[in-house]
């Protein structure tokens, strides 16, 4: 019975609003823009932060990554002293100490990264040679698509074998099966034993690198022991006649912990440990979980800013509705008087006008939701940006638009109800 009454009042409200289609439409615009911008902006923000978070997650939330960095003061010196061998960065000893002394360590993965050229027949590509342990695919999300990855036997016997990334293999071996072929790097030949592919391929990077012949995923994986044996520890860069040498034992150590919680307590311990062995800051500690938290924090602030802008536009929309409803109340004073004379109670009048404002704002909200869902789709097509419309943003935007209708409808509605029936009937 109550529901039926409400339905009738809503029908009546829609009827009154349709009497002035143009006016009702314009009144709804404020809410339409408000709701649409909330959803669209949140969707674009959500998409951007999703990509950032995915990138961080790929580093592993229970990992700590320690990278060698060239100490800044040495840099300027190296140009003065030409034959100076720049000795910095992480060492095998660092890796061993971490494994031995830090609690809850699951795996320690050392890496050497060497810039080299790989040759097969007449084809040549600049690549990154990554000397690492067999556990590598497990920790970084590599998938072996053909053959096998490195083994501990390879590591122990310093085998001249290598594993190629799929894209590199395609370029290097357009016709033949790469496995069992031998490629040359530096002075040595390496037998290809497998092909790998990243499981979470990022499409974000533009194709620009391709034309230069060196994309970032042109990688060659070799046993760490082989890398040390074949390429040595001193890396020589020749450029413009000058000569620059760097001695770096390890470029990166990835430490995986047994749990995400363990990372937190281990970070200061690792920093203390490394400070003991390194006089200069020739390394950096990257904590993905902290980056993730920072990204989430940034997103929260972003959402608050967006939310405030959206709230303002919805309030402006609400004021628009209130303004029109006040005008409507004046215009329909006579109708209010008639209804009161014929038995309408004050709350009936309040309900009637409140329903009209809520219908306006909910109607605007619905249209706004449609635009808010469609616009991100268009944006992601045109601008090649990821957008995510979260159900919660739709619910919030829609809910707020309804609330705006109620809040800004109450005053005009009570104005209408408080009219004196006789005065209202006399109104011209």
């Amino acid at each position: 019975m109550r529901l039926k009454t409400l339905i009738r009042i809503v029908q009546l409200g829609i009827k009154s609003l349709l009497l002035h289609k143009m006016r009702s439409g314009l009144t709804m615009l404020g809410i339409i823009f408000g709701v649409c911008s909330v959803i669209a902006m949140l969707a674009i923000g959500e998409g951007a932060s999703y990509e950032a978070q995915e990138a961080i997650k790929k580093l592993g939330s229970s990992n700590i990554i320690i990278r060698s960095v060239k100490p800044p003061q040495e840099k300027s010196m190296s140009s003065a002293k030409r034959d100076y061998v720049n000795d910095y960065g992480l060492t095998y000893q660092d890796a061993n100490s971490i494994r031995a002394t830090i609690k809850n360590v699951d795996t320690v993965l050392p890496m050497r990264i060497i810039r080299e050229e790989v040759r097969f027949n007449s084809i040549m590509f600049p690549v990154q040679v990554i000397g690492t342990h067999p556990i590598y695919p497990d920790m970084t999300g590599l998938e072996v698509v053909r053959g096998r990855f490195l083994t501990y036997t390879d590591e122990r016997s310093r085998n001249n074998i290598c594993v190629l990334t799929a894209s590199l293999a395609e370029h290097l071996f357009p016709y033949e099966n790469p496995v069992e072929q031998e490629v040359r790097m530096g002075a040595d030949y390496f037998k290809v034993v497998g092909i790998v592919r990243e499981t979470s391929i990022e499409k974000q990077r533009p194709q620009a690198g391709e034309s230069e012949g060196a994309t970032v995923d042109h990688n060659v994986y070799v046993p760490l022991s082989s890398a040390k044996a074949r390429f040595g520890e001193t890396i020589i860069n020749r450029s413009a006649g000058s000569y620059q040498a760097e001695k770096v034992e390890l470029h990166q150590i990835t430490v995986r912990f047994t749990s995400t919680d363990a990372v937190q307590t281990a970070v200061p311990q690792i920093k203390t440990l490394l400070e003991k062995f390194h006089d200069t800051a020739d390394y950096e500690v990257i904590v993905p979980i902290e980056l993730l938290r920072q990204a989430e924090q940034t997103k929260r602030i972003f959402n608050i800013v967006l939310g405030s802008i959206a709230a303002i536009s919805l309030i402006v929309g609400g004021i628009g509705i209130m303004n029109i409803m006040l005008a409507t109340v004046t215009e329909r004073t006579r109708e209010i008087g008639i209804r009161r004379a014929l038995g309408a109670k004050k709350h009936d009048i309040v309900t009637q006008f409140l329903v009209e404002t809520v219908v306006l704002s909910i109607g605007g909200g619905l249209i706004g939701v449609v635009f808010g869902v469609v616009i991100p789709v268009i944006v992601s097509h045109l601008a090649d940006m990821k957008t995510i419309v979260t159900p919660i943003s739709v619910i919030i935007a829609f809910g707020i638009s309804g609330a705006v209708g109620v809040v800004f409808g109450i005053y005009p509605a009570s104005q209408a109800a408080d009219l004196d029936p006789i005065e209202a009937l006399r109104h011209e």
């Binding site: 019975m1 039926k4 009454t5 009738r8 009827k15 009154s16 009497l19 006579r334 109708e335 008087g337 008639i338 209804r339 009161r340 004379a341 014929l342 038995g343 309408a344 109670k345 004050k346 709350h347 009936d348 029936p421 006789i422 009937l425």
Partner: protein
Amino acid sequence: MANREIIRIEGLEKVYDMGEVRVKALHGVDLTIEEGSYVAIMGASGSGKSTLLNILGCLDRPTAGKYYLGGEDVASMDDDQLSAFRGRTLGFVFQSYNLIQQLSVIENIFVPLFYQGLDLSDREKHCEDLADLVGLGDRTDHRPKQLSGGQQQRVAIARSLVNDPLLILADEPTGNLDSKTGLEILDLFDRLNQQGKTMILVTHGDEVAERAQRVVHMKDGVIDREDVKRAPVKVDNSKKLELTG
């Protein structure tokens, strides 16, 4: 056996307090009206006719005095009770018709029942019968704008009957109509009264007063004199309203 008394007012006063000026629109009106009466209230402009009718119609409250309608003490009712009471027991016909523009004829007739929580779908037949009764059975889905003044007033009369009221109140119902159309409306009122409806009309026209069973003359907020021409019609509440012929 006389008809039962449905209105009793005693020492009714109404003062409009407008800050500095206090307008005494009614001072000391006593009146009793039996069921089946057809009362015309006449008097010069500003004599308090509309003020009295508004109080009788429970749209306004007296400053002093007593008012019983159908045995109920109107003064003791709060705003919501008054609204419900109007909706249940009174029918209004206004000078300027006062139909709701966005509603069709049938919906306008239905409005008083809407506020009694009823459904148009359940009472459509009843509302259509009333439209027939006032001769607008073929215009039920028209809007007020599409009707002439006389037709609009007929809709208003149908509306005033929809809740089967104890009493119909009309303030200058023919004031906006030409004399021919006015007469048609008055014929309708005559027939309603013959069917036993109690009518109270405010009017300036003598032709209206001639039809009334009783004429109340007002002057400066009091009843100056009364003419009772005949006894009220016998009321048989079991009979159904029927105006054709």
